[in-house]
Amino acid sequence: MNVQFWQIALIVLYGFFINYDKNGSMLGTSQPVVAGFLVGLILGDINTGLYIGGTLQLMTLGISSFGGASVPDYQTAALIGTYIAITTGQKAAIGITLAIPVAMLMVELDVLKWTVNIYFQNRAERYADEEKYNKIELMQLCGVFTTMLVSGLPVLLTVIAGPTLVKSIIAFIPQWVTGGLTVAGNLLPALGIGLLLRYLPVKSYFGYLVIGFIAAVYLKMTILGIALAGAAVALILYRRNNEELNTTQTIGGVNDDE
């Protein structure tokens, strides 16, 4: 398709914003499904965007970064994958195939950012000694800028290198890669779920996991339905535990399984 300048400008701006939003403002635009949707909206092909974003979202479900661990950056990958798929007129599966290695490579950039920002932290400490407080604010803004570069640069490069280069790369991708990655796309959500289960108190409350499973496979309930039922159960248990707490004034019954 023919991409207009305003479309490219918006994509690049979003590319710089997406990693900032992930760490700073947290308005929710830094998720694969949202990235796919927004890029689809800008380029006028919402369905392809939703499909690529939704697939990548499921792969990353339950994978989130805490305490400085770097995880594959599927949101920027979704942005790039959707942009390429739509502008080169390829199938959505190609966009997903390209997005997976991009997400993995982005980990390196993230590690680089965390390292570079140590320099700004140290400079800020020196400025504190010299009582130059406005410079400390400048250091913070430098740190924010490197955060934006992490996602902004790859997006900028994609747009500059342009569909022509990517098209020639796509021509080299054999069928077994796209086919294999389609299978992988169906299996990868298991990883996020496994990670989540490591995080949740599975051993103490295994029964609830089984109830949710049964609700889905035998009762054919949707996730929203199961979430509402789960909320009801959680509310009942919260009430009961709260009353127990008020009468006994101990927290011995609270089970910590981490």
């Binding site: 760490n23 403002s25 947290m26 929710g28 499904v33 949202v34 369905n47 939703l50 939704g54 479900l61 989130s64 805490f66 995880v71 594959p72 997976i100 965390w114 390292t115 920002n117 932290q121 800020a124 009582e131 407080y133 400390i136 604010e137 250091m139 913070q140 740190g143 924010v144 086919g179 294999g180 990655l181 389609t182 299978v183 992988a184 169906n186 299996l187 959500p189 990883l191 779920i193 496994g194 490591r198 949740l200 599975v202 609830y208 996991l209 109830i211 949710g212 499973f213 609700a215 889905a216 496979v217 309930m221 996730i223 159960v233 959680a234 919260y238 709260n242 707490l245 927290i251 609270v254």
Partner: protein
């Protein structure tokens, strides 16, 4: 009461945090720089006639700080209230308070504000997106903005409580985390067969009866393969195998299964 710093300045502290909270993370002091940046408008006003106190305070705040960004406003509020009253004599207390609070707040905040809502609403948004509807995304936006907006009452609560309310809130939060974990487990149970979708390419033919591999497995138990796969991953993670390697294992396995014609 010793109210010197205007409310407008205090609001600027929260505003700065919400805009830039975790945006300058570094391996050495994590959110130390962001915390200081957020506090600076308040500090400049609080130590107007005391350059020595200001310097000492800034250096204290530049130290290591790392917690859940959604709950950090509570720490900021508490910090501001105490430091406004006691000035630099409170810095040791505040440093201790920050260190003591960031661990528990991170644990509670990460599950209640991040992992569980992201899983539930992420799954809903993704499933709706795959069937061509962006409604799930808007739903997720609303939830995110609501959770983000809770920073304002948390900030006010921090200012009001000083240190007194802390213990009761911590107990309450433990209860909330536990209840929300149960909700999370039920949703994850439902997610296993919904989002993990192994698609067998094999099929069996006997006379006029033709069954696909998927149908045969469904007759044994629907969701059998997804459940087995998830528990396989769960087991590997328990063996301390890094997620990135599991991704690679799954990709290699998938390509193999596709080439052999077992899955499609």
């Amino acid at each position: 009461m010793n109210e010197q710093v205007s409310n407008r300045t205090k609001n600027r502290v929260l505003f700065r945090w919400i805009l830039n909270g975790g945006a300058s993370l570094n391996y050495e002091k994590m959110m130390g720089l962001s915390y200081t940046y957020s506090m600076l408008p308040f500090l400049k006003e609080n130590y107007k006639d005391d350059p020595k106190g200001l310097k000492e305070s800034v250096k204290t705040h530049l130290q290591f700080f790392n917690t859940n960004p959604y709950l950090a406003p509570y720490v900021l509020g508490m910090n501001i209230e105490i430091e406004e009253q006691e000035k630099e004599s409170s810095l040791k207390t505040i440093a201790g308070l920050k260190t003591g609070l960031m661990g528990p707040l991170a644990g509670l905040g990460d599950s209640v504000f991040v992992v569980i809502p992201w899983t539930i609403f992420g799954a809903i948004a993704a499933n709706m997106a795959l069937s061509g509807s962006p409604i799930g995304i808007f739903l997720w936006f609303i939830v995110t903005w609501f959770l983000r907006g809770l920073g304002i009452p948390l900030y006010k609560a921090g200012m009001k409580s000083g240190t007194s309310l802390l213990t009761s809130i911590e107990t309450k939060m433990k209860l909330i985390t536990e209840s929300v974990s149960i909700l999370g487990l039920m949703v994850v149970g439902g997610l296993i067969p919904t989002v993990v979708k192994p698609n067998l390419a094999l099929s069996f033919k006997q006379g006029s009866l033709k069954l696909t591999g998927n149908q045969i497995l469904d007759q044994i138990m629907p969701g059998l393969l997804p459940a087995a796969l998830v528990f396989g991953v769960y087991y590997l993670l328990g063996k301390k195998i890094k997620p990135i390697y599991i991704i690679l294992i799954i990709i290699v396995l998938s390509v193999g299964l596709y080439v052999l014609g077992i899955m499609k």
